[in-house]
Symmetry: C2
Subunit: 390 residues, 2 copies
């Protein structure tokens, strides 16, 4: 058996979810609960029935690649040839790491708190990884100086996610400029993979600034999953400079031939109709409601600038025990959250809470967190628990 696979630890997120019981409030969710557009799905089905459900080119249908390049409109990455249509942004991340890194020699540097799979993919590929932790004391704001300080000569790829899963923070124009200038000054600047799975879900006036305009060695991972409630569609994209996209498409071909044709057609329709950001207002409303509820209970949290997560700060007694706190919250208080430890050392002492649930569930979830924080009894005491050991 491939020994690298056995060495990868099991998922903390899955362990938490497996303890959830009926009636529990789920603030651990990492996907939309909205229904996708029925007419759009029907149209894709009719298109495939009419024109066939064929492989198409490995990198994606020409018109889909062109539409994605035009939609993102990032300087230097705005041609159809810069695009590989992928099975979600997950595959785009995998392609970037696998294509760029020489196993045993290169490393990836992940800006943390971060989605745990970047480093697990690296581990699977025999590529070393390190985390550059953003500081909890500044609310996990992206700190260009701290990132630059963590870059080493063997750093081949720097990975950052903005809007960020799990923190909800976005990297601003000033930090982007400082980061790009600092990287360009290095003797051998690394590539940067910007994970933009939550690109459309930002709660500011304009769209986020474009790193690609400042830094030519930029790759982008994108997706329809979160923006359009289509996680199950498995439709995303990798944008990369010409010399990188070719080898990435080779990996993509060997792994799964091409992205599914129904998903590609749906992407084309959504982009053409300008509907990719259609759910932004919905999540903005949820964010406002959830943060209001947390504030009313005096629960410390990060004000999200994007995505559908916030980080909740644990009381001091729990500051080194986020896993234990999350276990106790689900077992005794009936509320699922994800321990900060799952996202890197810098988020120990925090919990990730998502706000995709219904407003009444968000309010009840905040109330249960408050009970735990105040040391009040949960809805289930340790004595009534059966089959669930802490």
């Amino acid at each position: 058996m491939n020994p690298r696979l056995e060495a990868i630890p099991p998922s903390m997120i899955r362990q938490l979810n497996s303890r959830k019981r009926p009636g529990d409030i789920d603030l651990g969710l990492g996907e939309p609960l909205l229904k996708p557009d029925a007419a759009l799905l029907a149209e894709a089905a009719a298109w495939a029935a009419d024109s066939g459900c064929r492989y198409g080119p490995n990198a994606g249908l020409a018109e889909v690649r062109e539409a994605i390049a035009g939609h993102c409109a990032y300087p230097g990455l705005d041609a159809a040839d810069n695009v590989c249509v992928t099975a979600g942004s997950q595959e785009a991340i995998f392609l970037a790491i696998k294509t760029l890194c020489d196993p045993g020699r290169d490393e990836i540097l992940v800006v943390e708190p971060a989605y745990p799979l970047y480093r697990k993919i690296a581990q699977m590929e025999g590529v070393a990884s390190r985390g550059a932790g953003m500081s909890a004391s500044s609310g996990f704001a992206f700190d260009a100086a701290a990132i630059l300080e963590a870059v080493r000569p063997e750093t081949r790829l720097l990975v950052l996610c903005s809007p960020c899963n799990p923190t909800g923070r976005m990297i601003g124009a000033a930090a982007l400029q400082q980061l790009a200038a600092g990287l360009l000054a290095l003797p051998d600047p690394p590539y940067v993979l910007l994970d933009e799975a939550y690109r459309e879900l930002h709660y500011q006036a304009g769209p986020p600034p474009a790193l690609a305009a400042l830094y030519p060695k930029t790759l982008i991972a994108g997706s329809l999953s979160k923006s359009n409630a289509l996680t199950g569609l498995r439709l995303g994209w990798l944008l990369a400079p010409r010399d990188v996209i070719g080898p990435a498409i080779k990996v993509h071909q060997f792994v799964l031939t091409s992205a599914n044709a129904l998903g590609q057609h749906i992407a084309l329709c959504l982009i053409k109709r300008g509907q990719v950001g259609a759910h932004r207002a919905h999540y903005f409303g949820r964010k406002e409601a959830f943060c209001r509820a947390l504030a009313a209970h005096g629960i410390p949290h990060i004000e999200p600038e994007g995505a559908f997560y916030t980080m909740v700060g644990l009381p001091g007694a729990w500051s080194a025990r986020s896993v234990e706190a999350a276990m106790r919250l689900v077992d005794e208080y009936g509320v699922v959250t994800i321990p900060g430890a799952a996202f890197g050392d810098s988020a120990q002492g925090w919990l990730r809470a998502s706000f995709v649930a219904e407003p009444q569930d968000l309010a009840e979830g905040a109330a249960r967190l408050a009970a735990f924080f105040a040391g009040r009894a949960g809805i289930r005491t340790a004595e009534t628990l059966t089959g669930h050991k802490l």
Copy 2:
């Protein structure tokens, strides 16, 4: 850049296809031209609109895994827990190689002539590969003794495809028994990956015999692509023993999270309604027509037992030059075939010809092959060719 990727040679099949011009007869095609069932696609769209288009479990929806296990009904691989729903059989092949092989130590042994991507995936993963060539003199019949002779102590995985792309041959009960007995007698029996992408397209009375019933270290790669004209759906499966499927699902999760939900629903419907083998009679008719036309022209070829390919034997003068013959056929005779050399050394001197095209195109294709074989002039002479150099 990952140095393994740069070392992988470009695709011969793609090079051939890029020379095709309007009006050419395409016997190079590796996918159905039939249209998928419109009602089924519409139903899947309605299902997703109603129940949401969610990630679902990494390994696939429980009912889909169960349906696939029941459909294949292979002893020891017939539980839902033996199934990972994949992005086509391509991903299933990738998962098998990546999961089972320790890079730098293990090798895969591929029964050739074979789909070229098995060995390219191994190369991408840093895993050594060798071919065990079946003999042209016996029409590329599966020869268990020759396969067993090629197995070495470092052979971790044996790969064979039946019904076979490119030869159209199927492995029979006697050869399977001999193979299983021989492998079981080894001190450390390798795993066997049986690629059954063409499982439903067999032209014999019963279904093919089950290797899994004879040999417990069997893995199966399957798909709806070829059986149901759904190559673009990217829906397949890996069946594997319990100790293998767990790590394989881990790779699957890291690479693309889960198979697309629309495809999973379509698979469920097709299996429940017993429609997975619905196109068998269609391809049987095409096979009969094509083989009749080849025979009428006196063109030597393999009588296919399954899949939608035959191998055409080149005249002696071309026996070491299948690539050159295929180039000349497309450039001067306007007929696309795939050179045997693409499938391994043992198929040098042969061409793969598919019979998915319309009957009149199959007849015209056979006539053009005959003209080349007889040394008659093609529809385009070398003088009239512009921009296409041999």
